[in-house]
Symmetry: C2
Subunit: 315 residues, 2 copies
């Protein structure tokens, strides 16, 4: 496919077009991603997550600067699983990040919620692959912390940076609620604000209590607006990358990720097949009717449907 070759050559317009096709679930999506797949696995994926207002955009901006200084190219995906109640406000934030817009070595893309959050998380992983195949050395994924969705997205990152700030609520509560597990590096941003040192101490205390983990996440103080601490933050990310590189840990993690991605694709295809078969089979539809009339419960019905589906597909 011509588009595949263009993406592999790093053509910006082709990358943008491919991402749009992926986002829109275009018919050629699988052919595109399938064609790119052999060329993925080279980019290092860094996730940056934190609550709204934590200064993630400017932090990603400055982090990009650090990575660029090493001569590495960067793909940036800003994921905004925007609440319908906050409208497009978060996407507007992105506009502030102008510094790298004209840099040929940086490709920036914002992604909003289209369809379900599950869909967003899948699309983000697909876009990571597009940027990876296009030759970007590093892919930065920024998500706004609004729920389980960004945890799912962070599963696609090799190193996850959790951004905390003073005055953003109870840090210990946050850490207990699943954030501790996903963090490879902590950035305590707005470190020039009152209470920042307290946040650092609280995180360190929590880490002291966590005796099981092999990798102790560094806690780095940053001021993303001025760039203070950003070199330290990038150094911490690189230390984690080195750690993963030892004993094939990175490869193991990525292998597990690939396996679960394939199963997700299998399920997506199976769902399309099931829905198609419903359209074609009066018998399947008859089972649904029994459920609608409450003469059959959905669980027994589901077993009958699966039997029907598998035998129907034999012929």
């Amino acid at each position: 496919m011509k588009l595949v070759d263009e993406v592999l050559a790093g053509n910006r317009r082709a990358i943008a077009k491919t991402i749009t096709l992926v986002e829109n679930e275009a018919p050629e999506k699988e052919e595109l991603l399938g064609g790119l797949y052999a060329h993925t696995g080279k980019a290092y994926v860094i996730g940056v997550t934190g609550s709204p207002g934590a200064g993630k955009s400017s932090l990603v901006d400055k982090l990009t600067g650090e990575i660029r200084r090493e001569g590495l190219s960067v793909g940036i995906i800003a994921v905004d699983p925007t609440s319908p109640f906050s409208g497009g406000a978060l996407l507007g934030d992105r506009i502030r990040m102008q510094e790298h817009v004209l840099d040929e070595g940086v490709f920036i893309r914002s992604m909003g919620t289209r369809g379900s959050l599950g869909g967003l998380s899948r699309a983000t992983k697909e876009v990571i692959k597009v940027l990876d195949a296009s030759g970007k050395d590093v892919v930065l994924v920024e998500t706004v912390g609004v729920g389980q969705s960004e945890l799912d997205i962070m599963n696609a990152a090799d190193t996850t940076v959790v951004v905390l700030t003073p005055g953003a609520g109870d840090v210990i509560q946050t850490l207990k609620a699943g954030i501790m597990e996903i963090a490879d590096v902590f950035a305590v941003n707005k470190a020039d604000m009152e209470g920042a040192q307290k946040v650092v101490t609280e995180v360190q205390t929590m880490l002291d209590l966590d005796l099981k983990r092999q990798w102790r996440p560094p806690v780095v103080s940053t001021v993303s607006l001025t760039g203070e601490g950003l070199a330290d933050l990038y150094a911490a990310v690189k230390r984690h990358r080195e750690y993963l590189g030892e004993n094939g840990k990175l490869q193991m993690v990525r292998e597990r990720r690939t396996r679960s991605e394939v199963i997700d694709i299998v399920m997506e295809h199976l769902k399309q097949m099931v829905i198609q078969q419903f359209r074609a089979s009066a018998q399947l539809d008859g089972i649904l009717d029994l459920v609608v009339r409450r003469e059959l419960d959905p669980y027994r019905a589901s077993m009958q449907i699966i039997k029907e589906f598998i035998s129907g597909d034999k012929g």
Copy 2:
């Protein structure tokens, strides 16, 4: 099953136990829900959604009072798809809703994020069925508006009340971002605050522009803390219920919902089967290995796996 009979008899302890089993995906979950299923479809389901701080808890509290005054029993599900960044704060909110705790005709249950948001939405729908089967006349589902998840949950409601407040950001943006479509009734809460009338006007203007819809959502001003406007709100919900009752609309909507629920269950079962078969089949695992080594792309792999899966299940 004894537990099924006890739930059908309205035994509070049995209801609580069943909900816990459902939430925890216990092995007996499907048998329980299957046994209850024939007795569902009687409760009227009202969804209440809005941004954090909109006063939904007290609104649900007062709405419960209105419904109870009619002698109807109420099941309340407070869904908190809590951001890991806000910790358990939202669940704490629930504690304020004490008024009906001692009322035998009211059953209150909070549900937090366990596992994925997709899982929460499914669990919520299952808990609605438990409360429905237990004989509750009305089931109230309250969700915090943090994303697509609460839209999914609201699909299970017969009437959806969207709660707006003055000063909670751009109402028009909110309405444009998918909220307009799910609202059957608007409550402009904190109507005693400055700017409330402006919110009402903005919603009405948006509704004026929406010429396609058959049902024009009433816009009701409420002050949930004092109970002002709550009788009007309940009247608006009942008008929508009557509207749905005409020409079998309610039945049609519920039928469509049942069909998609069955397909969800089918997919859940198929996924378990696929994963099981992976464990058992060296051939399937071999396909995954090719993907891991990037010798096969995930999409072609998925087709091979499906073929393998369907033929493997024949024997």
